[in-house]
């Protein structure tokens, strides 16, 4: 109770959604595919995190894991953490599951092994607890909690707009169904709300559109309708999985503008998944570059395009036509993305990396700041998982640093498995 004041200073940049060491595996008879292998990132209110990578790098599985949409044989590893930090929601869940709350703000008399709600600052107990700061871990949470998060707190916009709309119901029907399920709104009120929603995503003459079927909408309108569906329950985080990939540039520009406006109006946190570096440059505040299930580089958007550090990011940026100016041949990356089917004890990019050296095959690189000893400025959050960094340290130091952190993570995973 007393320590709430001292924590207030850090509230500004606190993420609304944070993911730590997310691992999603698909087990088949032959092998275990580690589609997402130790991904960590966070996104703050009003911020857009861009997740970029080639197909097969695990971008979409990451998003689906967050919402618990990974189907059998896929499985989110129980050690992974997906934390949602909205105080109001945490309070509600803490009151519903009082015996599964972990109080990080005070000495606990009894320990709960199966707690999934963490209260970092709050007061009261049991069913009358108030939470100022805390989080819900969606990996450990029961299905009913995950279900209440889905749509109402975190919503998703998929790439294939027509595929995510039901072809046999009118658009209005689908929005109203959603309002009914999540908020119990029906009848004329629901129609009213649905009209407002369509209007807010820039669909002209919304009332007429409510009675139309998805196939009567153009591609851009369909995507707008999907965004309207996603926003129906007023979520605070929006996961956008390649929302503009199937659209023409002029329509893409409209949708990006729309998302930008909605973010400002509603204070949304957006996780924007795409393979298009141009779109990333336009929408993102910070970027995570994914390769073979791992995040290989994290930086603010300006830093990433200005000074890409990881060899993969460099290669990716160079292979965009038109960016390198007048060249006859585009620089390419040799080989193709490997399927991550074993624990990485090496750098997964090493076989294709022009800068690889011997140790790349035996040490798994960890995220380190690209430059050592920087306390503030734009560089402080720029990290890369590559043995070439931190740039200022010499090779021996770098290897030691990566090896040490590698060992601890492996031990941790091993320890918790027992």
């Amino acid at each position: 109770m007393s320590d709430t004041s001292q924590n207030e200073t850090e509230t500004i940049d606190r993420p609304r959604l944070s993911i730590t060491n997310l691992r999603t595996t698909f087990t088949t008879d032959q092998e275990t595919i580690r589609a997402v292998d130790g991904v960590s990132f966070g996104v703050s209110p009003q911020q857009t995190l861009g997740v970029v990578g080639e197909s097969g790098s695990g971008k979409s599985v990451t998003a689906r894991s967050i919402l618990g949409l990974v189907d059998d044989p896929g499985e989110v590893h129980p050690d992974s953490e997906i934390r949602y930090h909205d105080p109001a929601f945490v309070e509600e869940v803490a009151r519903t599951y009082p015996d599964r709350v972990k109080r990080a703000d005070r000495e606990e008399t009894e320990r709960h092994t199966d707690s999934f709600v963490t209260v970092n600052a709050g007061s009261g107990d049991g069913k009358s607890v108030t939470v100022e700061r805390g989080s819900v871990d969606l990996v450990g949470a029961p299905d009913s909690v995950v279900k209440s998060v889905r749509g109402s707190e975190i919503a998703m916009v998929f790439q294939d707009a027509l595929g995510s709309l039901n072809p046999v119901y009118t658009v209005g029907n689908q929005i109203k169904e959603l309002l009914d399920i999540h908020q119990g709104v029906t009848g004329a009120t629901a129609t009213e709300r649905a009209t407002e929603l369509l209007e807010s995503v820039g669909i002209p003459d919304p009332k007429r559109r409510l009675d139309e079927y998805p196939h009567q909408f153009s591609g851009g309108m369909q995507q707008r309708a999907v965004i309207a569906l996603a926003l129906a329950c007023d979520p605070s985080v929006l996961l956008c999985d390649e929302p503009t990939t199937a659209l023409d540039v002029t329509i893409q520009a409209q949708i990006l503008e729309l998302l930008d406006r909605l973010q400002r109006e509603r204070g949304l946190s957006i996780v924007f998944i795409t393979h298009d570096m141009g779109v990333i440059a336009q929408v993102a505040d910070s970027v995570a570059v994914m390769y073979a299930g791992e995040v290989v580089e994290r930086a603010s958007v300006d830093r990433l395009f200005d000074q890409p550090k990881h060899p993969y990011t460099k290669g990716l940026l160079q292979s965009i036509p038109g960016l390198t100016g007048e060249v006859d041949r585009l620089p390419t990356i040799d080989g193709s993305v490997p399927t991550p089917n074993e624990q990485a004890t090496y750098c997964r990019y090493a076989p294709r990396c022009p800068e690889a050296f011997e140790e790349c095959d035996s040490i798994h690189p960890e995220h380190v700041p690209v430059e050592d000893g920087i306390k503030d400025g734009p560089d402080v959050d720029h990290t890369a998982a590559c043995l070439l960094y931190p740039e200022s340290a010499d090779l021996g130091d770098r290897l030691r640093q990566h090896r040490a952190s590698d060992d601890t993570t492996t031990e941790n995973t091993r320890g918790s498995r027992q």
Partner: protein, 456 residues
């Protein structure tokens, strides 16, 4: 790939008689006023879909000619029409001096040795039940090319040429990645040593790093075999990288043609400008200083009168008394006209009409709500306000068509009356826009005068 290094000269603006297409000394492909219509409901007196509506251009030997445009603008149909994979309505396609539109069945088959196509979707354009060897061998067999063993050797040679290995001969397509499948498609197109290949979005389905490899392969092959390409794409950065000349299509019409760099650096047509400014630049320091087009391309079954782009054009010519309106004011009017146009076209069932007349609620948002939404925060000069109010009254009274006519009367200009013809902007660049005529400001001047992207 050799870029045309033609210098741009300031051309004869507004010269109506200027030759539209730059003349190549000896073009390989000449397309003249090509029209392809899809006619459904013909018996019922329905209108045809004019997928390609009077397109003319030339492709020089060894050149890469790009066609860009939004989906549904007719670029794929254009490519297929040139190869006579579609029945054309009118116009001619001349290939190396021969008019291919008049070829008979047998001659056509013979000609197809010289003109091949690579398709967009590498998963559906090759047969999953045939081995890669069989797929690439098929065109050779269809055309009875040499002996069986020579055909096999040829396939091996082709596999090697497109960067696959000879053991891939007996594998099936599902064992390949998207990039490798596209290589198979390219090998198949190359099998009969064609001169001309239509590449229909060859890299759209691929990741950037794979895309770069396929683009490099295409460049190498062009150099080695002296191929002429027509590249259809919606990705403008790909087009800029690979093409010598580009044509920009909108709703079945070629809006602008010109050498790539010239077209990207100084686009003259309003549509080209809007399209280029919509490309997200992979550089965060570039501001979002773009022209965002409102709405979507109109239905090709019912194209707008006059210029096809007039319903979305930010550079549209206004009547002199409307020049002073701000962008927001003008946008409000345009949006209002769009809503009314859509309502006028929307088919209403008898039941819906009856319901409306009985006051049982309409499927439309009440028009006054629409106008409040559109014009709520704007104020207009009295004359315009009066027209808008009158139109609103007409719609409220159920006379949507009259309202539409009234607004057309008040606001339409040459852009909505006449189809602009293709005019030379510079020696090699030509564009379709009324603003190139002498009595109006050029799109570029219009921009610089207003000081902003859009007129103030």
């Amino acid at each position: 790939m050799s870029k045309n290094t033609a210098n741009s000269t300031t051309g004869a603006d507004g010269d109506e008689t200027a030759n539209a297409t730059p003349s190549h000394a000896n073009p390989l492909v000449t397309v003249d006023e090509l029209r392809t219509y899809y006619e459904s409901e013909k018996l019922l007196g329905g209108k045809p879909v004019k997928a390609v509506d009077g397109v003319s251009f030339e492709i020089g030997r060894g050149e890469t000619f790009g066609i860009v445009g939004e989906s549904g603008c007719g670029k794929t149909t254009l490519g297929r029409s040139i190869l006579r994979l579609e029945d054309i309505e009118d116009g001619t396609v001349t290939f190396d001096g021969t008019d291919v539109t008049s070829l008979g069945r047998r001659e056509l088959k013979e000609w197809r040795r010289d003109a091949q196509m690579v398709y967009q979707n590498p998963t559906s354009s090759i047969n999953d039940r045939m081995t890669v060897g069989e797929i690439i061998r098929e065109p050779l067999e269809v055309h009875n090319w040499k002996t069986a063993s020579q055909r096999r050797d040829r396939v091996w040679e082709l596999l090697d040429r497109v960067g696959l290995r000879s053991e891939h001969y007996h594998r099936y397509p599902h064992q390949f990645s998207g990039g490798q499948r596209q290589r198979v498609g390219i090998a198949r197109a190359l099998a009969l040593e064609p001169e001309f290949i239509v590449l229909d979005e060859p890299v759209s389905a691929l990741d950037v790093s794979v895309q770069a490899k396929i683009l490099n392969l295409l460049s190498e092959l062009q150099e080695e075999f002296g191929l002429t390409y027509m590249l259809i794409a919606h990705d403008l950065s790909v087009v800029r990288h690979i093409c010598d000349r580009v044509g920009v299509m909108y709703l079945g019409t070629l809006m602008e043609v010109g050498p790539t760099e010239q077209l990207f650096e100084s686009p003259s047509n309003p549509y080209t400008r809007s399209l280029l400014s919509a490309i997200p630049q992979p550089d965060p320091s570039v501001g979002a200083d773009r022209i965002t087009l409102r709405g979507t391309p109109p239905n090709p079954r019912d194209p707008p009168t006059g210029c096809v782009f007039s319903t979305r054009c930010p550079f549209k010519i206004r009547q002199p008394e409307h020049e002073q309106l701000t962008d927001d004011q003008w946008a409000g009017i345009e949006e209002f006209r769009r809503v009314i146009r859509e309502r006028d076209q929307a088919r209403t069932t008898v039941v819906q009409r009856a319901k409306g007349q009985l006051g049982l609620g309409s499927r439309f948002t009440p028009i006054r709500e629409v106008t409040n939404e559109l014009f709520g925060s704007l104020s207009y000069p009295d004359a315009i306000k009066e027209t808008l109010d009158r139109a609103t009254e007409l719609v409220a009274g159920g006379n949507v068509t009259e309202a539409r006519d009234l607004l057309d009367e008040e606001f339409s200009t040459v852009c909505e009356h006449d189809t602009p013809c293709q005019q030379g902007v510079t020696d090699e660049q030509s564009s379709r826009c009324h603003r190139h005529s002498q009595e109006y400001q050029e799109p570029g001047e219009y921009l610089s005068d207003s000081g902003e992207y859009l007129p103030e």
